[in-house]
């Protein structure tokens, strides 16, 4: 367990503490993943730097058409946010699916991304939204697409002992766009997804003009299916093309055999079903606008 615990009030102080501990200190936000890891001795730290008392990070904001979610914002806050429900339903749905109310009250969306688990519900939604993340160190501030953050299973390129993710950014959905997140799991609560899928579709009359299609966990990181996206681009909105896209996703997916999540064969079939559900729901939402 750790020897020291700091709750600084500014990002600058966080970076100073990290710097002075030379890799021995680590950032904690909600701690819903980190604390069980430390308790289970999967991770060792000498010092924790708690960022949840930094007021600047506890905001969901919109500037023009860009939505910003600060690193102090919990899953519950995202799930309940009118702004997110109206402008990025896919993320509100993903945030409501995480863990349990208790976990959602503590865990943060940015933390979910930093933790880099391949099935992290909100990360899957943020992939579909084309989100970017702001990473601040004493040397520089970088804005990086979330898709570029993954080094391996549960391994982010963000080094939380030296730098800090402060916010995620994405564009609010336009009137001709719809989104959806769907999940297959053993229960409705407190369970990891067998599979999840997030889509953002753009429609022009009865055709797709664009689609972003993401499924997980069928690869070491959320899988953005470029093949499915290519099939849907400029295609008619019809069961035929939706099914073609689903076949393409299954072609790219590489689900593992898993005692927890089911057989690879089963998940290969179900990933198609899930994607069809997500696309239909997203299309329905465009029509209802």
């Amino acid at each position: 367990m750790w020897d020291e615990y700091f709750s600084p009030k500014s990002v600058r102080e966080v970076l100073e503490i990290l710097q002075s501990y030379k890799g021995q200190a680590r950032i904690i936000a909600g701690g819903t993943d980190l604390i069980p890891e430390i308790k289970g001795q999967i991770r060792k730290v000498k010092c924790l730097v708690d960022i949840s008392e930094i007021d600047l990070l506890k905001k969901i904001e919109i500037d023009g058409d860009t939505i910003k979610i600060g690193a102090g914002i919990t899953h519950s806050e995202v799930a309940a946010s009118e702004l997110i429900r109206e402008q990025a339903m896919v993320l509100a749905e993903a945030a409501s699916a995480v863990g349990s109310p208790l976990i959602r009250n503590q865990g943060t969306v940015v933390g979910n991304v930093v933790n880099a688990q391949p099935a992290a519900d909100t990360a899957v939604a943020l992939f579909a939204l084309g989100a970017e993340i702001e990473i601040v160190s004493q040397r520089a501030t970088k804005i990086v697409p979330i898709e570029k953050l993954y080094k391996g299973v549960g391994l982010s390129k963000i080094d939380s002992t030296m730098e800090m993710a402060t916010a995620v950014y994405f564009k609010s959905l336009k009137n001709n766009q719809g989104s959806a997140f769907v999940r297959l799991a053993q229960r409705k609560a407190l369970t990891l997804p067998i599979l999840n899928a997030a889509v953002v579709v753009t429609a022009q009359k009865d055709r797709f003009s664009e689609a972003r299609v993401v499924v997980a966990p069928v690869a070491p990181r959320p899988l953005r299916s470029k093949k499915a996206e290519a099939i849907l681009t400029d295609a008619p909105i019809s069961p035929e093309y939706i099914n073609k896209a689903a076949e393409a996703v299954a072609f790219e997916a590489q689900p593992r055999e898993s005692a927890l999540r089911g057989s690879a064969e089963y998940r290969m079939e179900m990933v198609k079903v899930l994607l069809v559900r997500a696309l239909r729901l997203a299309i329905q939402r465009v029509k209802e606008k």
């Binding site: 701690g31 308790k39 289970g40 109310p101 208790l102 976990i103 009250n105 503590q106 609560a189």
Partner: protein, 158 residues
Amino acid sequence: MTSKTFLRMIVNGEVVERAIRPSAMLLDILRYELGFTGVKEACGRGECGACTVLVDGIAISSCITPALKAMNKEIVTIEGLGSSAKLHPIQEAFIEHGAVQCGFCTPGMILSAKALLDKNLSPTEEEVKVGLSGNLCRCTGYVKIIEAVLSAAEKMRK
């Protein structure tokens, strides 16, 4: 050697000031140092809800919450929710509906129910189920628990 650090919080309306280990969990302080044994430890990893407490009105798992996160915050445990002379309406409803079997999950269930009803006094059955979905009952007495919460909500609306 780890040196102790200072924690101030308000527990069930009373200011508590203590020198604690920086790595203590909120559960450790509430249950083992302050004697609020209504805060139960079971899974120890935020999966069962037995350690639920309210922090500034929000239900959280105290077993995975560093105690220092509670600095200057208001904590409510089941002991702070009414007295033996005058129970909270949710507690009364749990008794009336037989929603307590072994009792181990009960404090967490009631506190999650309180957090829910504080925000929404007219929840649907589905909303109650979602609101309590982080609290496990190994006696599987869920039906009576849900009935109790709905009935408490009805009483509290009056």
